[in-house]
Symmetry: C2
DNA sequence: CGCTTCTTTGAATTTCGTCAAAAGGCGTGG
DNA sequence: CCACGCCTTTTGACGAAATTCAAAGAAGCG
């Protein structure tokens, strides 16, 4: 399942996180000592929707899928979390229960802090609070854009937007184009684009045939970003 | 258009806002003195998507419609803002430009603070920062729920959910049932439910005929919440 | 009272989800 | 090492919900 305790956490690892931007090295060292770090295997559930023992989390290496399910069982991917990003933190401030599920996409190195620890840190380093506002403010804007897309755009455009967002968030350049860090099944793409597995499969396959992207071992590489971009901006007719 | 300056702002008006929860009366008095209050006519544009002179706003009386438009012109209603709620605040912390348009739904009394003022207030009263996190954290969760609904539910259920959310947010009890504070056109309901004017009209009209709700002078009153709730939870088939 | 804006309603079109089934991949265990 | 089973992906056919197109009423405003 996971190993913990013995994993050393360098202050510069924390410095790379937006959550701790603008803090002095001495502060980072203190925080590092108070951080729980775990190495998690693939497909491990970190928390479940409704859980009441909330902690603030961040990914150091690997990736996490955040999904939300309704009472009817239908689910969507809220977000994929890549290296350096925090997750599960909002619930500390709202109702103290996670609003979604978190599952590792691959082997992942995860940092976390208890509610009391994070609140104490914010108290002692108010900059962290401002960072939290900036991070969740940006996410709020992103989700609002998704709402607009879901309400007004067709499936193909939404998939294109989803891919571009993922590339921006967790893409790195390779010889073949921009590769997305973590492995994604067709179903993942469907759930983040707000469509079905079948529609997502049809669209991605057609793009592969056109040479716009390639999938190898669940990892997507965008070979012709300009084409994906064109589709994402295409007029409705 | 609007009148300003001469409008007195009572500290208890601020105390009723979640943004200023937990502050001492002396602090509220100081804040009141630094608040710009304006009385705005109906259909007035408070700010536009992309504007760079950002302020933090709140509604005292009346209502505001927050809409977002894409480059293709399609628009959605992000949210309706009722009495006591803040709006336009997130952009202070992110990129310093409003991500949406704000238009008054009716004659409205609006409070606002400049960027420098709000940041200074947060600095002096860190509780305000925590309140901001809680408010936008809750909104983030709400928008994420809307994403799930848009991705998985049919139009009728989405309209039902939208109405229930509005009733919870800005409803008050009357002899006929729960009335929503501000006037809503069919198009508003459509744009918040993620459907078209036509579909929204058909659905609302059918509910009126069934006696579940009534519209008078653009204001919706839910007469049988249990029926709307039933529809919002109805199985897909 | 005329004009603009909003609402209702009908009919045609279309996208997309649903149903169905086969093929491909990967790991496990015999 | 091969075979079996499970998960994922692909692909086709069909149907239905909703958008689009079109147009007439209704209501509010100057």
């Amino acid at each position: 399942m996971y190993s913990t305790m013995d994993i050393a956490l360098a202050p510069q690892t924390l410095a790379a996180m937006e959550l701790f931007q603008g803090l002095a090295v001495s502060a980072l060292e203190t925080i590092a000592a108070r951080t729980r770090v775990r190495r998690l295997s693939k497909d491990l559930r970190i928390f479940s929707q409704g859980d009441e023992e909330v902690r603030a989390h961040a990914v150091i290496e690997g990736g996490v899928r955040i999904t939300q399910s309704g009472s009817d069982g239908a689910q969507v991917v809220i977000r994929f979390i890549g290296p350096g990003e925090m997750f599960g933190t909002v619930s500390l401030f709202t109702d103290g229960r996670y609003p979604a599920d978190a599952i590792t996409l691959a082997e992942t190195l995860e940092a976390s802090w208890s509610e009391a620890e994070l609140l104490d840190l914010i108290h002692r380093h108010p900059q962290i609070g401002v960072n939290v506002i900036r991070i969740i403010g940006r996410r709020l804007q992103e989700v609002q854009e998704r709402v607009r897309e879901l309400a007004t755009q067709r499936a193909e455009r939404r998939v294109a937007h989803a891919l571009l967002r993922l590339a921006r968030q967790a893409g790195h350049s390779t010889i073949d184009g921009t590769a997305i860090e973590f492995p994604l099944r067709r179903k993942d793409v469907a759930d983040i684009s707000g469509t079905t597995l079948h529609t997502a499969s049809r669209i991605l396959t057609s793009w592969e045939k056109a040479g716009f992207l390639m999938t190898r071992d669940r990892r997507l590489t965008i070979r012709q970003p300009s084409e994906i971009l064109r589709i994402s901006e295409e007029a409705p007719d």
